[in-house]
Symmetry: D2
Subunit: 351 residues, 4 copies
Amino acid sequence: MKRLRICILGATGIVGQHFIRILHDHPFFEIVAVTASPCSEGLEFGKATDWMISGSIPPDVSNMVVQETQLGKILKVDPDIIFSALPSGVALDIESDLARAGLPVFSNAAAHRMEETVPILIPEVNPEHLKLVNYQDYGDGFIITNSNCSTSGLVMVLRPLIEYGIRNITVTTFQAVSGAGRTGVASMDILNNVIPFISREEEKIANETCKILGHLENGRVVSAPFDMNASCARVPVLDGHLESVVIEFEAPVNAETATKTMSGYTGEPQALKLPTAPPRPLITMYEQDRPQPKRDLTLSEPELGMAVRVGRIRAHQNRLNMFLLVHNTIRGAAGASVLNAEFARAKGVLK
Amino acid sequence: MKRLRICILGATGIVGQHFIRILHDHPFFEIVAVTASPCSEGLEFGKATDWMISGSIPPDVSNMVVQETQLGKILKVDPDIIFSALPSGVALDIESDLARAGLPVFSNAAAHRMEETVPILIPEVNPEHLKLVNYQDYGDGFIITNSNCSTSGLVMVLRPLIEYGIRNITVTTFQAVSGAGRTGVASMDILNNVIPFISREEEKIANETCKILGHLENGRVVSAPFDMNASCARVPVLDGHLESVVIEFEAPVNAETATKTMSGYTGEPQALKLPTAPPRPLITMYEQDRPQPKRDLTLSEPELGMAVRVGRIRAHQNRLNMFLLVHNTIRGAAGASVLNAEFARAKGVLK
Amino acid sequence: MKRLRICILGATGIVGQHFIRILHDHPFFEIVAVTASPCSEGLEFGKATDWMISGSIPPDVSNMVVQETQLGKILKVDPDIIFSALPSGVALDIESDLARAGLPVFSNAAAHRMEETVPILIPEVNPEHLKLVNYQDYGDGFIITNSNCSTSGLVMVLRPLIEYGIRNITVTTFQAVSGAGRTGVASMDILNNVIPFISREEEKIANETCKILGHLENGRVVSAPFDMNASCARVPVLDGHLESVVIEFEAPVNAETATKTMSGYTGEPQALKLPTAPPRPLITMYEQDRPQPKRDLTLSEPELGMAVRVGRIRAHQNRLNMFLLVHNTIRGAAGASVLNAEFARAKGVLK
Amino acid sequence: MKRLRICILGATGIVGQHFIRILHDHPFFEIVAVTASPCSEGLEFGKATDWMISGSIPPDVSNMVVQETQLGKILKVDPDIIFSALPSGVALDIESDLARAGLPVFSNAAAHRMEETVPILIPEVNPEHLKLVNYQDYGDGFIITNSNCSTSGLVMVLRPLIEYGIRNITVTTFQAVSGAGRTGVASMDILNNVIPFISREEEKIANETCKILGHLENGRVVSAPFDMNASCARVPVLDGHLESVVIEFEAPVNAETATKTMSGYTGEPQALKLPTAPPRPLITMYEQDRPQPKRDLTLSEPELGMAVRVGRIRAHQNRLNMFLLVHNTIRGAAGASVLNAEFARAKGVLK
């Protein structure tokens, strides 16, 4: 089977760089174009980007000439699929236009996430939401989004625990600065500090979690009625969102049982052995002081930033307390969209 | 009225330094001795300590010869009161011995906090607990403790909200490294990291909060039956514990009303105009991204680290969400004990 | 003598905030207007700025309506003096225009520093350069600049050592992020990192040092012929530039003698007891590991950020090695310009 | 050829962990024992250590039972070679005893470095110093040390430049906290700070550089007569020592020529294709703001932390300025000793 030709939108930012890192040597995909804002147009990618992530720029991508993120120019390179790392404001129109032009769009942008027929897909969590693409108005094209970075870790932990009967969820986040993009957090603001606010993040966690864990009815999602309570803070950490999660159940839950339920959980991406799927999506840790962003996000593990780590699992009455750690720009962004594309291909949605 | 002669135990650490900063020019107290571990004995204080806090060592204290923390040696300097910044292990016996020798002991150590007749006193919160000293077995002496640093901020916020009927409390902390003492957190562990564990801290928050908010019955405290849920983490911040607090009430609470209740709250220390009492113990903030450790703990304010700041107050159904900030080594340690002594003196317990 | 009416240009940034902090209660000056970019025009200052420095915004300034940084609008408020915290690009024309309109301009901007008749004045170092204003073409107005932040610390240390015969100077800087302004350094770039480059900083140190230490000849400065060697790096520190300085002399210099020469040095600002002049401009430290940015820049000292601290003074053959510390936004920026204005007033240049 | 049996002394610290990471799968060596202080004796290595470095503990080493660092116990495991990551105080006697017992000792400790017949070997720099082992009094055994971490980067840069005639060298270091070991730098000391002092580091740089670059005469080293000037500081960075280096030559040196000389430099380890030798020992960088510790020490490169990066190479009169970056616990510690052992084996010194 020949590799599908892909175009990465917004390729010069951190999420774009992770798209390139994951996709440049991918068995199903082949990078044929990268886009950025007009000021980078015409530059070689290696000159247009400030490569911030581990490893070097793949030489073939480094020499690629950056295109402007503009419909006609993108169509001219004749891609089979689009991956989008665009900022939300920019993403809204161009993603729709590309879908309307018949292209499958896998997007990390928030712009279309809450639309009725657009799935926020996490194949381990809500694989059935993939069917929503049949209800979109884009002809052959469609849009599939991944969730917000903090949400991705949370729903993966919630998924196997739903069977115990969840009543409400309280989450407090410790979010890394990379989540705000290349220049999103000024050092004057975060050195020796914590900022207890991230614009629109708490709403995203609440809304996206309920949508992802919702069920399909007549070609639309009925959000799960979870009572969500999110408080988000930025901490002086480069990569990795840590989250303190309290789940209240209908009845008492045993910590050991819950731990086993989580650590044993696998989903369709594991069954299908998708290239970007981690062998175990949830890694439970037994050390008393883990997971930690600096120590538990190493890319030298086979999970490559796609597993969510959970630790300090404690039961108290009807509640379960835990800390989880998710790689915000991989499982919470670029890796999530790549997994979605692999899954869509495996299910025949992507041809 | 002549100033009472005080001896500060464990004076060379960070809490000890704050004791000195606050007390060296105090209207009621006069530092006559400072103690430390045997290895500092005989040194001038200025040589024995590594002064870490703002301002300089007061010259008279700098020249004071450090005593060993040993009963006979302390009694020889004939103090009227003891302030203790000792580590818990060391504090247990020596504090009892000093109380038994007829001395009032105001302690920041955890050693005696959970004893039945020892108050964890916060004069704005549980002034009536001062009476417990009458039930102690120490003759003329007694022990009064202040709470754990994280607890101090939490109970001050809870106190005025109790009237609304609290059902349970969930708190996630972002704690500064100074809370672990001078060398408590290695830089290898915390640079670019968050550690989701602080030994025994979650238990302390739960137990101390319930004790402080409990009522007296027959000369002992009956702990309040709050359902407490604490998750503690260390962040790369020098000073100031930030806490994400979720309070569930019996019925819905209006955010604006709750804010007014908190910001208007004052207690006996304010009525008595005690020197170390902040004009307003709770300062509510309206900015969308405050309080922040780096920006809101400045000692240039009249509160001098003794007020607790609260922000991002949000109501959702029966719950109130907020972030609070407490200066962990002042309101959460040295300043708390000084306020306790001022209060005890004002109430005639200290003569 | 009535207080002179001042207008602060670029008042919303960090240097602007320090101007306000130092000047709002100044015996000689009275803030009558503050300017910023057009987007802040018409806002109250308290709403237009994000106050980052210690202390609160003085209430009278907080309520002041921000003006646009535009000639006509500034003249309308009829100031007696201008203080400028503008970025260099903006400063060039407006500072000239204001001087041409007859106003004395005290500027922290680099725009005019290297002009022949514009002094880079540091009253402890080159008080005689004040005379240059007589050679400017601005009629009654004039422009006096202060130096670049790193340069200010260096020349203050060099000044008393010149008599020993300096051959060349090597300096490596450890510069704080506040030197790049409110959002100048992204946290992604500096957390857990050092950046060995600051645009145009090495040239500024070389050129400004030679100009400041130069002598006047026919109404212009003849730069000192020092062989300068600067290497500049940014470190994850909020405030305070540390500099490793190696001075090579014509002959061996004794470390103790040099230390005494520095610590005993005072200049005209000290003799004139100017309000912003530190009692001792150079504070030599004897501890083996000082000065340190976090510990030695406290504003609780009488020097209030205007003294330069020097430590680890070591002689080796013809060379003297040392580390110096300068508060980059006070002695290296706002405080420097205020001292220049006080000095100009004392010398009758400012009426 | 069968793999030599190795014992790693002081294996639980950071340098010890790097020894294990590099050696556990090495073509020439096989880990048969690991030692630590008595308090770890008898524990499985995985329980005795707090693994801080990237990757996981190799399972076979994880299960190894830790020995006490004691002569008899070490000899009982019958090793062929010793690698030592001991602290200097402990290293002095045990390393001598092991050499006397006929074992080759490759040590990262400073204890024996300055002894007349002990080489501080860097095979790219002073391969001929290997011969010194013939002059040691240890019978079949010998001691070979690697240099101090800061020195290792410096001498590698100096080596190819010696031909231009070096007159003196000035270096200012920005050293990572890992250089002080697992708990060597307290977070209270280094967060938001720079410490301009590292105990005995400046002397080590001066003495070791001169010894390494010295020549052999009658079985001892005659140190090179370089005039060295070192100033050392600790910065809040986890890994990687950055150094600002100024080299004064006898005559002007062209920056481009010097860059080529450095980037083209290779030594015996490259010619011998030793497993741990980086393809290019010196990597010159052309970007205006590199090298940076966070960005340029990635272990995903083929150099694996063994190359030294050099950037910002600027010539000025007789001087060359540059910044270099060395991985302090790999090229500056464990990797250096492993390369020494590989080199000794290739030269027939290790059988």
